[in-house]
């Protein structure tokens, strides 16, 4: 009457367990693969660029002589761009996410917005460059300014921030909202005092990753009109500027081999920037992830 042959089961057990072990190793190798690539990449860049990395490198502007070339203008330019991009993309992104998650009813219009956002997330960055050029540089008359560049970048990463924020807002436990509403708090009070503070770690981790993408973007700013050579620091939002990736691209395409090392040094700086930002994201995530 027994349909299940326990002997058969036992016989097969060994093979299944071995299969599991094998795949454990395969999966581990696959994961390491990406890490190995990262390691090779880092190794190559560091060995090439490290010698050029000195205090002077941060203190000098670009120069036709590799030994004098520094990243000052590009570094500060990148910071300025981020100073525009971060608040604007956060405000718009979190606002949109709040609207979609907290206020919008499920209807055609919100589905449309949602579709639209995920579609924007896939639009190639260079297309955003074309948009920024037409809209901000030309139509709004902002010229090739930090403001125009920062706004373009803000639009570029906006969809990513919206999606990350939605995710974070959605994962705020319902019972916290209920607790607040249950005390007679209004909807906005609940959102502002409970939902947002609780969602902030999630919003920030998602957003910081988006910001680090913005820091590394070359193509859209090339189109919007970042300069390749700038030997002064920006003074206000209407100043002209350059950013690190463009500076690096410029160096890398110089004929003098020494500039290749300068480019590598520039990449290291960009990397450090990236890693600092990512670490902040990780810290925030780890610090708050256990809560509630």
């Amino acid at each position: 009457m027994k349909l299940i042959d326990q002997n058969l089961i036992n016989k097969k057990m060994g093979g299944r367990i071995a299969l599991n072990k094998t795949f454990n190793v395969i999966f581990l190798i696959a994961t390491s693969l990406a890490l190995i690539v990262l390691a090779i990449l880092l190794y190559r860049i560091f060995t090439q660029g490290f010698s050029h990395l000195s205090w002077d490198f941060f203190q000098s502007f670009a120069s036709r002589r590799p030994a004098n070339a520094g990243i000052k203008a590009a570094l500060v330019g990148s910071l300025w761009i981020m100073a525009v991009t971060i608040p604007i993309s956060l405000l718009l992104g979190v606002g949109t996410a709040l609207y979609l998650e907290e206020y919008a009813r499920k209807n055609r219009f919100t589905t449309f917005i949602q579709t639209n956002i995920s579609n924007l997330a896939g639009v190639p960055s260079i297309v955003f460059g074309l948009l920024g050029l037409t809209l901000f540089v030309r139509e709004f008359g902002l010229g090739r300014s930090i403001l125009a560049g920062g706004l373009t970048m803000a639009l570029l990463i906006l969809p990513v921030i919206v999606v990350a924020s939605q995710e974070a807002i959605r994962s705020v436990p319902k019972h916290l909202r209920e607790a607040s509403l249950g005390m007679g708090a209004t909807k906005w009070q609940t959102i502002f005092r409970i939902v947002l503070p609780t969602a902030i770690p999630g919003i920030l981790t998602g957003s910081i990753l988006a910001f680090s993408r913005a820091i590394g973007e070359t193509a859209p700013l090339l189109v919007v009109g970042a300069f390749a050579y700038v030997n002064y620091l920006p003074q206000n939002l209407m100043s002209t500027f350059t950013v690190m990736p463009i500076q690096i691209y410029n160096w890398a395409s110089r004929p003098q081999p020494a500039f290749q090392d300068v480019a590598a040094a520039g990449i290291i700086v960009l990397f450090i920037f990236l890693i600092v930002m990512n670490s902040v994201a990780v810290l925030i995530r780890n610090k708050f992830s256990k809560r509630y």
Binding site: A30, L41, I45, Y103, L120, G122, F128, L130, L131, E217
Partner: protein
């Protein structure tokens, strides 16, 4: 003391109630303000479409739309130019397909490892490192493809050109691995533990649980991550510009040099083409094609998420 204060609190609240009109105003204004921010995303899309559309139309007044889609060659710079987008599309697809072949198995395997096998600690260390990989500027990847991957491949694959679709394809694949790994891992982690327990309690191995329970349950999230990664691969610019060559060509041979749609846009927008020339307008037509491509990919992603979503 206490009682007197008790009065105070209730009364205070009552009193504040009466001047709550401000709060009511805020309550009414906030959704409108937030709606406005949400509309920015729509405006952005309209902005993109209009930016592309006008120039695209100009382009099509000079080059018949039929030629654009049916000619096999993309030679915009010669005496008798030919604008057959298929050549650029084939370059794009070739790179994308290679990237997907690299990224999907590696990305999924990493996702499974992180979500099902790795300890919490390992996951907490590895995931952020993978994310660094996703944030590396693409020009860095581009030089990496050119100066490292291509030479390595040349020693492995005889007859591999200096520029080819293979090397940037692989590197684009590596670039999108973290995206697939991270998003799929999220999807898999959100499969309730109770399901894993159910299978494990029947004597299933981790591998069986991963393949037969977790993967199918997370399939919509995984598919969405893949489609997203694909649209990122389609839109990738600098890597293919640097390592793919600049020869548009209708080919499916990965050892040949190609050009993608994005690389063409970069070539022209940082190049020599005169303002107002047909070549200049052609980048908008190509941009439009790209936009339509990503739009289709996204609609596909949405369809997939809906279609394959497992209810649990």
């Amino acid at each position: 003391m206490a009682t007197s204060n008790s009065q105070t609190v209730r009364d205070l609240i009552k009193k504040n109630k009466e001047k709550r009109s401000l709060l009511n105003g805020v309550e009414k204004a906030v959704p409108i303000i937030l709606l406005l921010t949400a509309i920015v995303s729509i405006l952005t899309t309209f902005g993109i479409v209009f930016t592309l559309l006008f120039e695209t139309i100009t382009f099509f007044t000079r080059v018949p739309i039929l030629d654009f889609f049916t000619q096999r060659d993309w030679y915009p710079f010669y005496g008798e130019p030919s604008y057959g987008i298929i050549a650029l599309i084939s370059g794009t697809l070739l790179v994308t397909v290679i990237a997907v072949i690299v990224a999907v198995p590696v990305g999924l395997a990493s996702a499974i490892f992180l979500s099902e096998y790795a300890s919490e600690r390992t996951r907490r260390i590895i995931k952020p490192i993978l994310e660094v990989l996703a944030g590396i500027p693409t020009i860095v990847y581009g030089f990496f493809a050119l100066t490292f991957v291509t030479p390595v491949l040349q020693s492995l694959v005889p007859g591999l050109g200096f520029f080819n679709a293979l090397s940037p394809g692989i590197v684009v694949g590596i670039m999108i691995v973290p995206m697939i790994a991270s998003l799929s891992e999220d999807a898999m982690s959100s499969v309730p533990n109770s399901m894993r327990e159910g299978a494990l309690a029947m004597g299933a191995t981790k591998f069986e649980v991963s393949m037969k329970v977790v993967l199918p349950a997370a399939v919509s999230g995984i598919m969405a991550s893949i489609v997203l990664a694909i649209s990122r691969a389609i839109g990738e610019t600098m890597i293919v510009t640097l390592a793919g060559g600049a020869t548009p060509k209708l080919t499916f041979d990965p050892t040949e040099s190609i050009q993608t749609m994005t690389a063409y846009i970069v070539q022209v927008s940082s190049g020599d083409a005169g303002y107002g020339t047909t070549v200049y307008y052609s980048i908008y037509a190509v941009g439009m094609t790209l936009f339509v491509f990503t739009l289709m990919m996204n609609l596909l992603a949405q369809y997939i998420t809906k279609r394959f979503r497992e209810e649990y």
